[in-house]
Amino acid sequence: MNVDPASPLDPAPTPDPQEIPLATYVRMAWVLRLGLVVAVALLSAAIVATTVKFPTSSSGYWISTNPLVRHLDLPQFAHDLVTGDPTAYLTLGVYALIATPVVRVISGLGAFAHHGDRRMTGLTGAVLALLLIGLLVVGPLVR
């Protein structure tokens, strides 16, 4: 498709939207890469450590027992991290994976606000608010 802003396709053209700087794209791509690397490193190390610590445990046990439930309690999670519980590091890897797109949204919000792009700042802020509502309100509500 080749749409000229002044073509009949757009009978009442508005000014072109503010161009999103290349640096914003690069920063978001960098956040994705870093988040994935951190998550994969944590998950790899923790899976190896978990299999070393519980070599004879059955798959049925792990299907019916979710160690992450215990780590939803933040003091317990911190304690297990400090004591070197490998399942706590598995949970940390999962948190890193889920947090990556959220951090990408936050980095975008910062970049748009910095460049004074009000429309994108508003949109990105709304998406971030929805994500936080999901985590802090909807999740605990339906739990």
Binding site: M28, I63, V94, V102, L131, L135, V138
Partner: protein, 284 residues
Amino acid sequence: MDLVEFVILLVLTGVLAGVVGSLTGLGGAVVALPILVVAFGVPFPEAAGAGLLTVLATSSTTGAAYLRDRLSDLRIGMFLEIATVPGALIGASATVFLVHAQLSEALLVALGVVLLSLIPGTIARGRQPRTEPPAPDAVSRRWGLRGAYHDEARNEEIRYAGGRTRPALGVAFAAGMVSGMFGIGGGVFKVLALEHYLGLPMKVATATSNFMIGVTGAAGASVLLVAGYVNPVIGGPIVLGTVAGAFTGSQVLPQLRNRTVRWLFVPVIAVLAVEVILRGLGVA
């Protein structure tokens, strides 16, 4: 089986899901989910939680390249996320409610039906006649839903503008619901919103869909996580396998004919989907 065998088999499942998901364009979760349910006997909500983790991993793997090439349209992607994120939150909440109401079997039947519904679009992908893009509507003009990208093959800058924003938002909301409810990326539906309704070029639609999938997946995963349905011992190995598989798939993709690959693997996914339905009906 013991934990070591379990982890190895989960990683191999992830590799298969990553390769087949990237070669068919269906995404890793569509392959991993039915295998987890049928072969490993993982309950539906935990399988959906693992599925969303693979969605997040594949989105981060490929999303970085699309962003670097400026193929993902941030403005349009963020605009549609206003619809996909609430959809994912409602979909994931519905899953939790249905599981609490002892209706996991109904979810399995619905998952099988959703998987089967993805197949015709996958087979026909790229063969539909290109229709005239819609004219930008008032919402599109107000939010500046237009952009441009450099097409390497044609060596020219392609400009585009989004139209039919209301139906596109509706489809995006439904895509988010499907993603949150069943633990899949729902990329097929997001591309439908972006390409068919907004009228974006296919490359931009695919890249923007990938951009959106990560945020939608995070929304659904956060609800399932707090509800206790994201099990890292199941999801972790699947994620590692999927990342390796998706990377391998992207390397071998240029050497394979897409149509051949689809005809090879799509029947396998169809059989798995039927197995999931039968399991939901208590037949298998």
